[in-house]
Amino acid sequence: MRDMIWLIPLLPMLSSISLMIFSGRLPKTLVAFMGAGSVALSALLTLLFAVNFLNNPEPVQLTLWTWIEVGSFNPGVAFYLDGLTLVMMSIITGVGFLIHLFSTEFMQDDDSYARYFAYLNMFVAAMLILVMADNLLLLYLGWEGVGVCSYLLVGFWYQSSDNGKAARKAFIVTRIGDTAMALGLFLLFSELGTLNIQAMGEVARTTWQVGDTMPLIACLLLLAGAAGKSAQLPLQTWLPDAMAGPTPVSALIHAATMVTAGVYLIARTHDLFLLAPTAMMTVAILGLATSLMAAFTALTQFDIKRILAYSTISQIGYMFLALGVGAWGAGIFHLMTHAFFKALLFLGSGAIIHCLHHEHDIFKMGGLRTILPVVFWSFIIGSAALAALPLSSGFFSKDQILLSAYLMPGVGPWLWFGGLVGALLTAIYSFRLVFVVFFGSVKTKPDNSPGLRMAIPLTVLCALAVVGGYFTIPVAEVFPPLGDHHPAFWVEAVSIAVPIVGVAIAYAVFLGGQLKVDGLKNATSGLRQFWFSHWGMDWLYDRVFVRPYYGLANLLSSEPLDRLYELVVSASQKLNQYLSDTQTGRMRSYVGSMIFGLIFVLALSLGVL
């Protein structure tokens, strides 16, 4: 079994390529079988491998071939699987398969059915390569692959130019992060001489001391790459606009897998981050800040997918916070539970959108509790997990993060407090969504119910969102242990109570009507606008980067540098004009100039001049 793991990324890749070659000529059923089936097979193989691994927890190192061989630099196409990889692979193939199944019904009426599955499969293959890679170069290959697929899928309905713009925005913003990451790779290679992740850790420990500047710079560059891919400050502006893609795409790429690639990267290179405590603190503060900003924004949004997008940014901020304080396992655990409940929420919203003729505004929905019961229960369970209500999966993971944050010496309690505020807001906005959409009067009537292929993934994800908290992920061997302290009991009690308070507030405002916030709304409408525009980040980037860039491009489009060369041309033309003007054709001027020359030469030879 261990020798067959290369099949896991290969199957979706093959399916993707054949779908691309034969797209349009295959019947939709066959496309669905190929698309979803390849990921199902990968999931099955992953399951078999998981069983094998859990019995025999020895990391697998499998080299397929040497990719590049230049001097001492010879990264191979090689896989390294340990517990962390296994967790990621399970999420990708498992949740991925469910989303593929959901898509077969969601995209049923679309003409570009085959193209959709081709892209989606290619994404799964690239993501698998990313998590299975044993050196950073192969990881970067997967990294770029998922970026491209994200672009292709966000701009899937390319007929509308807005989708194209959103896709470009996603790609360009992540590209900035990717470039920083590439610089980090260059730096790491030049300093450490290898890009093999396991080897890098050992070499780094001997080469650098804790607190050196080199690891700090390298880690900050890697962090920039991770921030780009995972939509953290300052590169998070692309994710809300990326909701222009089909909803299953948002579920897979922008909730469960691609945006978690940044978290995976930092977790993978934890050996390096441990050598740069400043970088880790940056990670934590960055995560917290992003989380709070996104949470405030989600409060004011009315597009169902945008609420979930900001929620994703916020939750990944929590994961970054966990990684930053050194709670690697907690971060990965939250990644897993987040994959479950966020995919659940996105698929649920996809079902709603599908049944309500692509209506996105939550204030135009209402009372769907009785009409779409499956979706209702999915949302209840998903939102409960999101808000970290007790006994849901999200509760266990978020709890671990907050407690680990509290235990950090120094700014720990402040981080914990920030996390609490975020948790409160999370509860408020997630249940705001639930109460507005599913309770109250029906404003738009759905004309069909979700079919079986939509209902099954929703149900499975519901189950996972509930029981996922009881899993123990096999990452104990991977990460250094955190320490065995326990905070005071009141800390835990507050952490548990805050989400419940949030739900109560949401209930009071949106459902029960006990709290009237109209006055508050009018008073703070400016603040509300500020939060709605995501703290003005789009406006800021437009002013600071986009407009100067366009200005520069316009300036350069008139080719100012060519003027320099044209200067040479015009100078020689003028010289030509001047010289030909001296050819008057008249004898007297020639005679005059001859005599002048005679005098001059005579004076020279006399030594007078």
Binding site: I595, L598, I599
Partner: protein
């Protein structure tokens, strides 16, 4: 003693006559002055002992070349209108610059020549000696000079021919020309077609009176 005075008088005459020659508007007047200048120079030649040169100066220079000038001027028949034009062309603004240049040149020459030592002549040079030197060391120069004269002869003969006037017809526009009487009976057809071929690409020259 007398020769020295004579020398200076002759030089003064030559210079004055040349200046007059340069500044006359009537061509014949200028030529006469020029002849006087040449005579003055001939006197200088005689005084320094170069009698043969003096004779040559008078006979050939003043006697042949200047007479040729006179013949051509009389043939061209410029008349009073020519004189008027000349006056127009001799304004102060025109001769100021050249005068400066000429004076600069003169000053330079002055500077050079003032360093020359020695007397003008050491005695008369007999003509016989001139002849011996001419056909002795310089016999090649004589041959070449004769060839030069042949070239000059052929050239002036060719340039003076009337048939060249016919090429005017290819150049001039119908409205421009006062045709001269065409009495060429030596029309060389080959030469004419050569002229045609050469001049087909050229444009017509200006024909108007330049006043």
């Amino acid at each position: 003693m007398l020769e020295i005075v004579l020398f200076y008088i002759a030089s003064a005459v030559a210079l004055a006559a040349t200046i007059m020659a340069m500044t006359r508007t009537n061509a014949i007047h200028a030529l006469i002055y020029l002849i006087v200048s040449l005579l003055g120079v001939a006197v200088i030649f005689y005084l320094i002992g170069a009698a043969f040169a003096a004779a040559l100066e008078i006979v050939i220079y003043a006697g042949a070349i200047m007479v040729l000038f006179v013949f051509v001027i009389m043939m061209l028949n410029l008349g009073e209108a020519g004189s008027q034009r000349e006056q127009q062309w001799l304004k102060p603004s025109i001769w100021l610059g050249p005068a400066i240049l000429a004076s600069i040149l003169f000053v330079e020459l002055l500077y050079v020549l003032s360093a020359v030592e020695g007397t003008a002549s050491v005695g008369a040079i007999p003509v016989k000696e001139v002849g011996l030197t001419l056909f002795g060391p310089y016999v090649l120069a004589v041959e070449i000079a004769s060839m030069l004269l042949l070239a000059g002869l052929v050239g002036s003969f060719h340039l003076g021919r009337r048939y060249l006037e016919r090429s005017d017809e290819f150049f001039n526009q119908p409205n421009a020309v006062i045709k001269e009487t065409n009495e060429s009976n030596d029309s060389n057809e080959a030469a004419k077609t050569n002229e045609q071929n050469l001049s087909n690409q050229k444009t017509a020259p200006e024909v108007a009176w330049k006043d």
